[in-house]
Amino acid sequence: MINFQYLRTTSVKSAIALLLKDKNAKFLAGGTNLIDLMKRGVTAPEKLIDINHVPLKQIEQIGNKIHIGALATNTAVADHALIKEKLPLLSWALQAGASAQLRNVATVGGNMMQRTRCGYFYDTEMPCNKRQPGTGCGAMEGFNRMHAIFGTSEKCIAVHPSDMCVALTALDAEVVLANGKGERKIAFKDFHRLAGDTPQLDNNLKADEMIIRVEIPVNNLAKNYHYLKVRDRASYAFALVSVAAAFELNNNKITDIRLAMGGVAHKPWRLTASENFLKGKEATLSNFEKAAELAMTGAKGFGENNFKLKLAPNTIIEALNLAKSKA
């Protein structure tokens, strides 16, 4: 049997202490991704450190920031009155992910850490640089309909599959990480990585670190927002392309704007050039179209995912349209 030890802990400190003791240990949160990966033989941790009893489920406003604990479930966050009122974009993005059953157990930390859904990554009989560096990328010349068009590397063209993370990237969130020495805080947009030469690394979490919460500044983006997820069926499917859009309108003039895309890169893809273009401009279709065009700089298809080159800008335009018509 591929045995593993199951440990349960109730504090951040002891969780990290356990992690430090054993290189091949992993945190177990909702388990909706980790257990699948273990079943498929993609990962085989020797220790599972159950962190579900660590008190990190808080959802609260402190000063002008909303704090969400790493163990708050996707459902708890999406349904929370504070989130619905002040960060509805996040609530919508969460609702667009997975299924109700999964969201009930999936956690914020686990969602950030979930691995790609690339079919080659999951099949241990296939080549995959992410699972086993050096074996090649099965998707590059294979089935890459779901794969990235931005920031790809020769080693890996996988996408990060999360919806929540797209919204958090757009909302200028920060991630608080705990380690043996204390805590550190990084911008959410810097949490995930591009594949580059190290496709095995999805993010910048260090081996001895734990995600403890995300912090999101309160904003004026709760009126005109939309999370648009285009997928192969109406629910319970990963994004072909998704767009998180939110802006502040004053006399039809965009005074603040956030745009991020999912399903297009190895990390949630913030559309800074489009944001800069739209800032100070009228919320018109032609401006939206120009912004969408700007977003596509550097995009590259790999065959089966070429359609994303058209779908992505279209989705940006439609998300902006829907955000505009929301208020």
Partner: protein, 707 residues
């Protein structure tokens, strides 16, 4: 409270058992000494096993045995020359990736699973091809005739027609994926006595296959399959994995249970084969069809041929003097396909019914008017009248309910913001079958009736239908009637497939009831009772606890005199998003023309399931293979998309509900297949009507709409 006699909104008779978990499915039987088997599968696509190292597995904790081609017990039929090529454990050949090559048996499922991962095979690999489209283009690749060529009138008459079209249609592999995983419990006991708990659409067929393979008498084999968690055709045969399990039980002398994984559901129990079809249609300017040509290619395996009725519909569905069809199968290095709901007819209807819509468009005719104009009075293929056919009435009902008058013939006319609305229609048709079956009826003095037959229920509600037939004839309340099935020791009945069960077994139920009634009447007369006396009193008066009758029933000459088909019309409204290419089916009206509706609730459920399956076929389902490796890429429920609730609008189900005068005593024709057949074309036609884009490759995913 007793149920009302002749109430026709009767609930599924086993519904409560099912929703309360009391219905027992094959995997839930706990036999003493039960062991667990897990299959080891090939990781290459074609070649030979050169070595199989089972030592580590055999030494793993809890492992009882590893059975493979190296040590299998005798399966007499496999020892002979000839017969099937895929003789599991009697061949070292690999025909496809994921083929079972060994079974590991242990005292727990987890231990067997782990030990299976320790079995190491080495192979001599050979070149392979799993790409059907590639094989079709390759002049060296084999193409076998799948059905005799058909010709009526002039061949390829469409080519010289006033208005003509020729188009190609592509269907990918689909996988049945019933919720319940496949498997079997096999218990081989001394003296070659075998009991199995199976997931099967035919207990007699399973019994027969095991008897044939191991050359033991049928009577030695008991097959139980009372409840089946969906089949859609994949449980119409006994698969190698099941034979492997029986072998394992024979080898270790203990019962062995195998439940395969969802991933193995893609490689061990068949698929709907991919198909490439060309339709040529010709019409005169007034919209009369003058030529239909349907040429189809279907995928099959290299070790076994599989054919289905892909081109059947073209031969009789429309009035046309010039029709020709051909159907060839093309072997590739994949597991053998099997019928999937609506089977070949659903594949064929997608192409034909799309082409009919295309022709109507070319003629600038309403596709409904075009169909009505070319609706045949008699079956030109068989040269016989239809036993019953109410298609025009069905068109009318459906058109009214969907709001067909809102449809514009010019595509892309109905636009609301980014959403384009379209309407589509399609016909489905399937043979109205009736086979041979036996039923035993026991009428008891306690007022109850027991009916028994070795038929199956994969979900349509067989027991409910049979109960209602008896209820009507005998005037016995539904809750006093029991219908037993799924047991090979009961009177024989065919497998549940081809929409034939209600017609076939129902006729035998009918005959049994008629016989029981006359027996009671005779008893009444002999004991000076009134002819209308209740059977309970008659039996009591005669001191009889019960009387019993067994009847075999099959169709008579009427079968030769009439052309018998069930029909369906599917109307759909879709909304297509111009920017994202998302297609939403927003309204469905299905009309079934399948004779008398015996059991309205379960019949409606069949139509609902057909529509949901149809949405899947049209919009979401596709089993994807990486042809470089011959392995499936999306072999799980996250990536193989069956429709979810949010994809399914309200479905308005209607029935003509007029008895067919000839098919059987109930006047009821089958309807499981027609619920799905044609549906995907209705969606494709609606997408065209909404957008002006004709999509000829299923499924219609956003990328195709945007292309």
């Amino acid at each position: 409270m007793e149920k009302k006699i002749l109430k026709d909104d009767t609930d599924r008779v086993d519904g409560i058992l099912k929703v309360t978990g009391q219905a027992k499915y094959f995997a839930e039987y706990e036999l003493p000494g039960l062991t667990y088997g897990v299959l080891v599968t090939s990781t290459i696509t074609k070649g030979k096993i050169t070595g199989l190292d089972t030592r580590a597995a055999e030494n793993a904790p809890g492992v009882i045995a590893v059975v493979s081609h190296l040590n299998k017990p005798s399966a007499a039929a496999y020892e002979q020359e000839g017969g099937p090529q895929m003789k599991i454990f009697y061949t070292d050949k690999i025909f496809y990736n994921g083929q079972p090559i060994a079974i590991v048996v242990a005292n727990t499922f987890e231990r067997a699973t782990y030990a299976a991962s320790l079995v190491k095979a080495t192979y001599a690999k050979e070149e392979f091809n799993t790409d059907f489209a590639k094989a079709l283009k390759d002049p060296k690749a084999k193409k076998l005739q799948g059905q005799a060529d058909y010709k009526r009138g002039i061949e390829n008459a469409y080519k010289t027609a006033e208005v003509k079209l020729e188009e190609r249609y592509f269907l990918p592999i689909e996988t049945h994926n019933p919720m319940e995983l496949h498997g079997i419990i096999a218990d081989w006991r001394p003296n070659n006595q075998v009991t199995v708990y199976a997931k099967t659409q035919g207990v007699k067929a399973t019994q027969g296959t095991i008897a044939n393979v191991f050359k033991i008498p049928m009577e030695n084999i008991q097959v139980n399959s009372e409840f089946v968690g969906g089949g859609f055709g994949m449980a119409l045969r006994t698969w190698p994995l099941e034979i492997a399990t029986v072998m394992a039980s024979k080898h270790i002398g203990k019962p062995v249970k195998v439940v395969i994984t969802r991933m193995q559901m893609f490689t061990m129990v068949g698929n709907r084969p991919a198909a490439i079809q060309t339709i040529g249609l010709g019409a005169d300017k007034d919209g009369k069809l003058t030529g239909i040509t349907h040429r189809a290619y279907g995928e099959t395996s290299t070790y076994e041929n599989f054919t289905e009725g892909v081109v059947n519909m073209a031969k009789f569905m429309y009035q046309c003097d010039n029709v020709n069809t051909s159907y060839a199968i093309v072997p590739v290095d994949l597991g053998v396909p099997i019928w999937m709901r609506g089977p070949g007819e659903a594949t064929g209807a997608f192409a034909l019914e799309s082409a009919i819509d295309e022709m109507a468009h070319a003629l600038d005719m309403d596709p409904l008017d075009f169909r009505i104009k070319n609706d045949p009075e008699t079956d030109q293929q068989k040269n016989k009248p239809f036993s019953s056919k109410n298609i025009k009435e069905a068109y009318k009902i459906g058109a009214e309910k969907i709001g067909w008058s809102n449809r514009k013939n010019k595509p892309g006319s109905l636009v609301e913001g980014p959403w384009q609305t379209g309407y589509g229609v399609s016909v489905g048709v399937f043979n109205a079958n009736r086979g041979k079956a036996s039923v035993k009826g026991v009428l008891k003095a306690d007022g109850s009736l027991l009916l028994q037959s070795a038929t199956s229920d994969i979900g349509p509600g067989t027991g409910t239908g049979m109960t209602l037939i008896a209820n009507k004839l005998m005037k016995i309340p539904v809750n006093k009637i029991t219908f037993e099935l799924g047991d090979s020791s009961l009177p024989p009945a065919p497998s549940q497939g081809g929409s034939a069960t209600l017609s076939t077994v129902g006729s035998a139920v009918n005959d049994v009831c008629v016989a029981l009634k006359s027996a009671i009447a005779e008893l009444a007369a002999n004991s000076n009772m009134d002819a209308t006396a209740n059977f309970v009193e008659v039996l009591k008066k005669n001191n009889l606890p019960a009387i019993e009758v067994t009847k075999e029933s099959q169709s008579g000459k009427e079968k030769d005199n009439y052309s018998m088909y069930s029909f369906s019309i599917h109307f759909v409204q879709v909304k297509v998003h111009a920017l994202t290419g998302v297609v939403k089916v927003s309204k469905i009206v299905s009309v079934g023309d399948s004779g008398t509706i015996v059991s309205p609730k379960t019949a409606r459920s069949q139509m609902l399931g057909g529509a949901v399956g149809g949405i899947g076929m049209a919009l979401t389902e596709e089993s994807i293979i990486d042809h470089r490796y011959g392995r499936y890429i999306n072999n799980n429920f996250a990536d193989y998309h069956v429709p979810v609730s949010a994809d399914v609008p309200e479905i308005d189900v209607n029935f003509i509900n007029k008895p067919d005068p000839y098919i059987n005593p109930m006047g009821a024709k089958g309807m499981g297949e027609i619920a799905l057949i044609g549906f995907s074309a209705a969606v494709a036609n609606a997408v065209f009507n909404a957008t002006g884009k004709r999509i000829r490759t299923l499924p219609i995913t956003p990328d195709k709409v945007l292309a």
